[in-house]
Amino acid sequence: MKPRRPEGGRPGGRGARINPKTAKRLLFLIAGRYKLHFAFVSLCIIVSSIANIAGAGFTQTLVDDYIQPMVASSSRDFSGLLKALGVLGSAYAVGIAASYFYNRVMVVISQGVLKKIRDDMFYRMQLLPIKYFDQNNFGDIMSRYTNDTDTLRQMISMSLPQTFSSLIMIAAVSWTMLSISVPLTLLVFACVACMLFATKLLGGKSAVHFIGQQKALGDINGYIEEMINGQKVVKAFNHEEKSKEAFDSLNDGLNSQAASANRFANIMMPVVGNIGNLQYVLIAIIGGAMALSGTGGVTLGAIAAFLSLSKAFAFPIGQISSQMNAVIMALAGAERIFALMDEEPEPDDGYVSLTNAELIGGQLMECQKRTGIWAWKHPHGDGRVTYTRLTGHVELIDVDFCYNENELVLRNITLTANPGEKIAFVGATGAGKTTITNLINRFYDIADGKIRFDGININKIKKTDLRKSLGIVLQDVNLFTGTVMENIRYGNLNASDEEVIAAAKLANAHDFISRLPDGYQTPIESDGANLSQGQRQLISIARAAAADPPVMILDEATSSIDTRTEAIVQTGMDRLMEGRTVFVIAHRLSTIQNAQAIMVMEQGRIIERGNHNSLMEKNGRYCQLYTGKLAEQ
């Protein structure tokens, strides 16, 4: 996982701005999916907030209606007070129940929404074209599943209900205060304005440094990642001291940013809190003066109530301001998550599908069970459905391809592979060999020309079905966490243990697997770090063998395998190629000599073609390569 993010990509780094579209969409995602839950939660929050301030308001009643008169009148009848407290207690009981219910239901909503977001995001990611993964940094995509989802979790389960309840509280408290005394309320409002001003001032300063801190953190984390991953090289070159120096300067930079950012954030709480205390004092003084002079109908009870109410008012405001940062961060995260979800999925207009088939009286018929015979099911516009047997006939006609517009990587590629034929591509790195194979399974779409599979334009074939019919062994082997057995079974999920072992035997992988500590049950960790390159290659061949497809695309990766293992791998590859149409990016002489057609590529073009003998006779580039004349140039 790469902690480094692109410039300013960190939430909060966008000038603390809320994108209303994202907010709306998120709210809709939450409220839309859980309409009833949401309505219930809202109701409970309202009830609980009102119950909360009922007590503060009751202080006035307590002092003015009971304590003061009773002290004065020496009446000892407490039944009225008992009754009133009973009412208050019931209100509290309802409030407590309401807050329990909304907290409980909120869990359902927030966890449900998060699961939905996670699943949707992964679902959508699976649909994206290879191009997306070429263009986007993995660490950046990963952080949407980690940081961004996490900030979202905090926001939905905490900030959202808190902000809502705070708003309700503010409204209810304002109303209560106004009903007791307008001038004192205005005093409270003035103090709150001061609080907001202080928050904005300090928050703004803090935000500047927070952005700086995030940037410094990104820099240092990127540096740490690079140096730790390259630590062996650092040591081989005695570069430890140099790397420490650079680290120290980054670390000191981060330290000063972090200290400033936290300083302002830390100061905010006591400043805001104590403005609240000052307001408390002011209410006492001014309220006291008003009570003594008898202006505005201020009583002792009113002052007492105001003292509680002003605290009840400051609290939700403080809460909203402290949640604001979390909300902004979460929305920035949500924006990035939505951006991933909005990525255009790999288009698939194919309608021709692959089915099991059997031959009945020379006629190809669709059937359910696995017969070993496959057919392309081709529905036509007029409702007819025709079946074409899958044979592995592939032709490319005048194919052009570019990654970026106007920059052709492949030009005028035309070739035909008959069923069971082996087509070898040779040429220098960057000549376009791998690119051709990526077009056949439609990892990329061609710019111009046609590719036909058994006579059907591959654009018409459903991508998943097209890919099922093509096996692939890539040069870079990717394995998954799980056992060796599970990794080979990846090729064919229905394969029995025996079939997996048979595939391993065919790939010549059985011997080394048997020698592993737990044989086929040996766990593979972090992309097969516990296996050698050659062993991983063997597992990937076995995986392709388990899939048993009619057409194979092989990227011969001889470089990573030593010669002895290579001989083992070669036997496996040769067996895998038998009876299939094969496109092979070839490095080995035997592969090339056995190929029906050899395509010599240079700068995106096929410059020579033919079999080994005819190409040798031609005495062109292939012959030069073969006899090594180029080496002497």
């Binding site: 995509i141 990963m142 090289v233």
Partner: protein, 582 residues
């Protein structure tokens, strides 16, 4: 663990002490406020004494201002203390890793080290700030408020004694019952991330085997576990707030009822005092709540702290000798009965009884099957690992007696998994020798056959290489790594399969250049191509951790069946590119 981390406080000790001290000041002032307020209400407002109101109001004002100042100071010191603490932890970690041997790195794995230096440090930093502020604030607030309430009314304070245990026990139950669930959830999160990461890396495999659905299911299962566990934990957490309200409201009603009675009947209490008790009750309960949050934070960060101390306490398995030899005389190498195991003595033997003599200036090729320990063998020469048994002698001296830096300067290894760093090509090359002149750089690049493509790059030697060298091809990367190694002017040069992505023509040119221009340097070449080692003075054949045979091409063709097989398979049906050499 705590002790080790405490060592990281160092120059921030002053700030770390001042922050909680000022916090105590702030809390005392805040606790004083309701008390003064009670006096203001009872003696001022209730009795109609405006002077008293103003007098007491001034004191209240002063107390609030003092609280604010103390709060600001405490916050500022806490910020610099925690940021500084994190800085020191990070620094100690990085230095510690810099001192690691290869086996230390293997033990932790690079990715786990990265997490410890980033995420774990951030967690510990937050916890530290929390401890020097909140962990002081909450208990102080609790105790002081309680003491004040007690001094106002002993009787009414009993209500708190009733509420506190209820809240305390409830919070304790919630924390202890949810903590294991959270720990589990975070582990599951790791699994989820792993699935995503593997999918990102292996997207081509997923797509070509049409396993999107399968992967989605895999993801879905894990996502579901997280959903269930999180829901379970959060549902338990959901009683926190109502529990707090129950206690607070309960206190409030009891205070109002008994308080009113005491004011009216017993005349033991004044209205203002009742108000102050209500304020204290809120302070006491909220500080208990805060205490529980601190507690959770500390528990969560404990795992991070443990992981960090693990690294800090790890001692490098390689030590410089007491009286090191600084000069490597020549490039001769001799292995005497060398054994090696990655797991140390008693572990699985990877290299057994290796004996080999290489004269200075020789070219030695090493061939062998996968896992035959070719790489292991050569990594012992610059003492990247220590031999478990036997002696490795370079330039007539046991490698353990050299100063490690001098030894590694004399022995240049191009590792199999070679790495370029983000920076210009020149900056990368200067790793070999930071004082290299442009001429020296150009010469190294021409020997490594890298000059041609560098000249074609935009910016030439100033071309910026991205992290991990992602914007140069594999072959270019390998050639740059070779040039970098050459710039060290080594006495011994080791190429561990370092030309695998380079085409044969260039490979041959590199070897030719080595032979002609570096006659005095001992060259060890691990390769998969028989032709790459065919012309070597000595060819070493390795098989399952043993040196099977040593000899020239001619002798090995006669005596070593393995070599003969390899050679014949390659020339007959071997690498196409190889044909140009044959």
């Amino acid at each position: 663990m705590i002790k080790r981390l405490f060592l990281c406080v160092r120059q921030y000790k002053r700030d770390s002490i001042l922050a909680p001290l000022f916090m105590v000041g702030e809390v005392s002032m805040e606790v004083l406020l309701p008390y003064l307020m009670a006096m203001l209400i009872d003696n001022g407002i209730d009795k109609g004494d405006m002077n008293y109101i103003l007098n007491m109001g001034l004191r209240l004002f002063a107390a609030a201002m003092l609280a604010m100042c103390f709060g600001i100071l405490s916050g500022a010191f806490a910020a610099s203390a925690s940021a500084g603490f994190a800085r020191n932890v990070r620094k100690d970690l990085f230095y510690s890793v810099s001192g690691f041997s290869f086996s230390n790195i293997d033990k932790f794995s690079a990715s786990s080290l990265v997490t410890r230096l980033t995420t774990d440090v951030a967690n510990v930093q937050n916890a530290y700030q929390m401890i020097i502020r909140m962990a002081v604030r909450a208990p102080m607030m609790l105790l002081m408020s309680f003491a004040m309430a007690f001094s106002v009314s002993r009787k009414l304070s009993m209500t708190f004694l009733l509420a506190l245990p209820i809240l305390g026990f409830g919070l304790w139950y919630v924390i202890t019952s949810t903590h294991p669930i959270f720990v589990r959830v975070f582990k599951t999160y790791d699994k989820l991330n792993r699935v995503v990461r593997e999918n990102l890396r292996g997207m081509r495999v997923v797509k070509s085997f049409v396993r999107e659905g399968f992967e989605r299911e895999k993801f879905g299962v894990i996502s579901d576990i997280i959903f269930k566990d999180f829901s379970k934990a959060e549902k338990r957490l959901a009683i926190n707030m109502p529990l707090m309200q129950l206690c607070a409201y309960g206190c409030l009603i009891m205070l109002m009822w008994f308080g009113a009675r005491m004011i009216i009947v017993d005349k033991e209490l004044a209205t203002g005092e009742l108000m102050s008790l209500i304020a204290y009750s809120m302070q006491i309960l909220s500080s208990l709540m805060m205490l529980s949050m601190v507690f959770v934070m500390i528990i969560i960060s404990r795992a991070s702290a443990e992981r960090i101390t693990e690294v800090l306490n790890e001692t490098s398995s390689l030590r410089n000798p007491d009286a090191p030899v600084f000069k490597v005389k020549d490039g001769s190498i001799s292995l005497k009965g060398v054994n090696f195991s990655y797991a140390g003595k008693g572990g699985k033997i990877c290299l057994a009884g290796a004996n080999l003599d290489i004269a200075s200036g020789e070219t030695v090729g090493i061939l062998g099957g996968t896992g035959s320990s070719k790489t292991t063998l050569v990594q012992l020469i610059p003492r990247l690992y220590d031999a478990t048994g036997g002696e490795v002698i370079v330039g007539g001296v046991n490698v353990r007696n050299y100063d490690i830096e001098s030894l590694r300067n004399a022995v240049s290894v191009v590792l199999q998994k070679n790495v370029l760093f983000s920076g210009t090509i020149k900056e990368n090359l200067l790793w070999g020798n930071e004082n290299a002149t442009n001429e020296e750089i150009a010469r190294a690049c021409s020997l490594a056959q890298a000059d041609g493509f560098i000249d074609a790059l935009p910016g030439k030697y100033g071309y910026f290489v991205e992290q991990g060298g992602s914007n140069v091809s594999g072959g270019q990367k390998q050639r740059l790594c070779i040039a970098r190694a050459l710039l060290k002017n080594p006495k011994i040069l080791i190429l561990d399969d370092s030309t695998s992505a380079v085409d044969t023509r260039t490979d041959a040119a590199i070897r030719k250049a080595f032979k002609e221009d570096l006659p005095k340097v001992t060259k060890i070449i691990i390769s998969q191509r028989a032709a790459s080692v065919q012309d070597a003075d000595k060819i070493v054949i390795m098989e399952s951790g043993r040196i099977e045979a040593v000899g020239t091409h001619e002798t090995l063709m006669r005596t070593s069946q393995i070599y003969r097989e390899v050679y014949e398979s390659q020339t007959r049906g071997g690498d196409f590119d190889e044909a140009s050499q044959a």
